[in-house]
Symmetry: C2
Subunit: 513 residues, 2 copies
């Protein structure tokens, strides 16, 4: 603080130097379980590691920090959660901070309420309303001295050493060096989710936008509004206007259908009024190789098809074989020019998940047993889209749905709390503890909105079974109410309700910020 003492202040009032009087020993970084680096840079080359983590490392410019060491027997055991999606967040919410220290490693500090993400692209909801900070979900993470949120990517797991390798997300700020460190765990929960599948089609990653994160929704919104304004510039030809304002959605699952529905609502209500010059040029096309909403009842599917078509969405059955900067090429060589391309054809395992040397389930997911434990290794669990039952359980791989992830997170939080209470919280100490009931998934049903205040609700447990399935305004009301009650915090529940009310009264906001 030498620089500060040198400064001449013009305020006569004394500033209390909190940093100089605070109790340093209380700081977690100085506690015994923390392998602390006293210099800013430990060395300019990597520390030698005895074993290589599963993902390739060692660029000479990178600096490795020691990180969080193993917990001592008298300390709280540490649960390390990789990921901050539905599964990881529901788990953290349920973990008892009196039993465990919780460390979350994720490249984003919030959970995204994915079922409502499509609504944010067109301004029905605000981006902030669908994002929930992790420290609101589990306040102990910011309060407990041994609990942390690390903005970082996991780059490897050493299951035999009970240790994960992390790399900080520096977000392009030049003043932060990319650094790596390790975090030791007593229990590890892999909840890293999945990534969009491109089926190896050229150009998808370069030209299409996915719809999985808030920044995807922001990008879609910016591009949509930008194209609306560009199409109104002098000198733009008819053909170019058609292209700029052609929104193509690939994939007819719930996300693709809901986004198409929201987009057509936006066009019908807001574009016609606010972009009167170009309103007749904007169109939405939904391309699907098979049938839309294939998991839903036939009757509901027909209803959705009718509703979408009525509100101007063109439904096209086709297989995309190539994606170029301004057009999509179908397998029959049809060229589909577009201004905005949204890709939502389902998800698959990420390269990290593929690279991990752990048992796998069908489809390359991390294999788990009936209690969501990863077999062979100790103290490792996996939940959500990145995990699936190993073949020996005889159970099918569960669909990549928020409700599966959430149910697994809740189950595992209870299981870990029980283990911790029984004294099995620390590494390699849970062998003789009774695990109780295995995880059983009961499907509660599916919902999807199709725009124009209409939705589908299918409450059957599977496609073959009997049960309630309905479509229309009442379903839409159920859809909204159900999601509103699922929104995690009261703050966001309040904001989602307010956003919906404002959209109804004032229309959608169109400022491109």
């Amino acid at each position: 603080m030498a620089w500060f003492r040198n400064l001449s202040k013009f305020s006569a009032i004394n500033v209390s130097h909190q940093t100089q009087t605070r109790n340093r020993s209380a700081h977690p970084f100085l506690s015994s379980s923390f392998d602390f680096a006293s210099r800013r840079f430990i060395s300019s080359v990597n520390h030698p590691t005895e074993e290589k983590p599963s993902v390739e490392e060692s660029s000479k410019n990178r600096i490795q920090y020691p990180g969080l060491g193993p917990t001592k027997p008298h300390e709280k055991p540490r649960v390390v959660v990789l990921g901050s999606g539905w599964a990881g967040c529901r788990l953290m919410k349920g973990l008892d901070p009196k039993i465990y220290d919780i460390v979350c490693v994720s490249p984003r500090n919030h959970m995204v309420f994915t079922p409502l993400l499509a609504s944010t692209c067109v301004g029905t909801l605000e981006f902030r309303s669908v994002a929930e900070p992790i420290t609101s979900i589990q306040p102990a993470i910011s309060r407990e001295p041994g609990s942390f949120f690390f903005l970082a990517n996991c780059i490897g797991i050493h299951a035999d050493k009970h240790m994960v390798h992390c790399e900080a997300v520096t977000d392009g700020y030049k003043h932060l060096d990319t650094w790596r460190y390790t975090v030791s765990y007593d229990k590890l929960v892999i909840a890293l989710g999945a990534q969009p599948t491109t089926f190896g089609i050229q150009g998808v990653k370069e030209h299409a936008i996915f719809l999985r994160e808030v920044h995807h929704a922001q990008q879609i919104r910016r591009k949509l509004l930008h194209n609306l304004m560009m199409s109104d510039l002098p000198g733009v030809t008819e053909e170019e206007k058609q292209r700029l304002l052609h929104c193509v959605v690939v994939g007819g699952g719930p996300t693709g259908v809901e986004f198409s529905g929201e987009l057509s609502d936006f066009i019908m209500r807001d574009v016609r009024q606010r972009y009167a010059h170009v309103k007749d040029y904007i169109h939405v096309t939904l391309i699907e190789a098979n049938e839309i909403l294939s998991t839903f009842d036939d009757r509901l599917r027909r209803y959705a098809t009718k509703q979408l078509t009525k509100s101007g969405v063109r439904l096209v059955r086709g297989i995309v074989k190539d994606v170029q900067a301004e057009k999509v090429i179908l397998s029959d060589d049809t060229e589909v020019p577009y201004g905005l391309l949204v890709w939502s054809t389902g998800v698959g395992p990420s390269p990290l998940i593929q690279s991990l040397n752990l048992p796998k389930s069908h489809g390359g997911r991390i294999g788990v047993d009936d209690w969501l434990r990863v077999p062979v290794v100790q103290d490792v669990f996996s939940i959500g889209d990145c995990s699936g039952f190993v073949e020996s359980t005889g159970k099918p791989t569960l669909p990549a749905l928020a409700q599966v992830a959430e149910r697994q997170g809740k189950y595992l939080a209870n299981l870990l709390n029980r283990i911790g209470k029984a004294g099995g919280g620390h590494a390699n100490s849970a062998k003789d503890i009774e695990l109780g009931e295995p995880f059983v998934y009961q499907h509660l049903g599916s919902m999807a909105s199709v725009g124009s205040y209409k939705a589908l609700v299918d409450l059957r447990q599977s496609k073959e079974e009997k049960g309630i399935s309905m479509a229309g305004f009442v379903s839409w009301f159920i859809w909204r109410s159900a999601y509103l009650t699922r929104v995690v915090s009261w703050r966001n529940r309040f904001y989602v309700a307010i956003n919906w009310a404002t959209t109804l009264v004032f229309g959608r906001d169109i400022s491109k910020i």
Copy 2:
């Protein structure tokens, strides 16, 4: 639409082909006053222009479009407004769309409610709440066939030809070629605002963030939250933590003071709770070469100094001589390390304003007469931060304040409506029209919040005159109420009130999206 006819639809329901049946002749781009380019690209080289516009042009890769030609005598005259700040937006709001077609040329499609921008950086208000779409301010722009909003920068003015040169903002999208076009005007209003001054100090543009646009506030917020998370990573030294969490504000005017106040509120209330690990490391320093809030009463200034210091803001009198990536160097060679640097030392004319071959006022602004007309040329007006009275008026240059810009916009809208009604709307036809009262500025007073529910209100017309000046909670209440009533739309007024209420109840949102 050949690509579409080739597609095999799987929906049995017929799609109504609106684009093919719509009345093409009604489209504004095909009207007589529009010089329409039927091919997508007119040519691969620039069209020769008889005279060069004031800003250098002609890169061979750029394509020039003809644009909007002069209006015909039987058509509505066209007012072209350059800029979408307080001045331009207030003008457009007041212009009568029955008299004029309105064309706005601006690189952003919304107005920013600048006095509340500082509050958005820390999440007290949402970004969307302080942005107002231009088509909400003047709906005729999207509805009238001859009115337009062009997302473009003005790159030159041909006053003798009644024409402006524009360049589309392509926003980095590769599929859009940067193109240029011209727009003819009957009346031109230059309301391009000003840009932040750096006093030629090295490194300001590279390392500091200004606080003038929504994207600046977004950048500040992202960096602040990012630094909070980075400082909690394992292996970060004490010194590095101090630096990362040191927020330095340069400039003690209302913006700098309000931002410092908001930041200290955020630290006192939200950081302590949500970032308990690093709360003692975060500090705010406000650097000002002279006195803070120099336009305010001495008593109010002392009050502000006391309040800011009490809430932990360090007030430093110093002159910045150099800005580096992680530290600021003062004129006495003191080094001030920072993690976030906000620069708000006032504004000056932009390069475009400087380059225009028009009469100038004191400080390089565009000179105007008592009726806000630019002398020498016909039908050109200028309002807001980019304009000042020419010397012959004997009037001083008005301060760069929202209230000056707004008052000028309102005055000029009335003046132009009067001219239009009297038949002087078209180019070169207003010579004999009575202009009425000249523009007179009456200062209503100044306000600034200083954090902790305290504000200053100075209702004196100038620093020397007598009048009401007060500070404290009542002032803060007046400050909030006054701004709330000034927010343009009911939608945003509602959102600002809701945001304030939510912040009070739930605290500020900290998700980094």
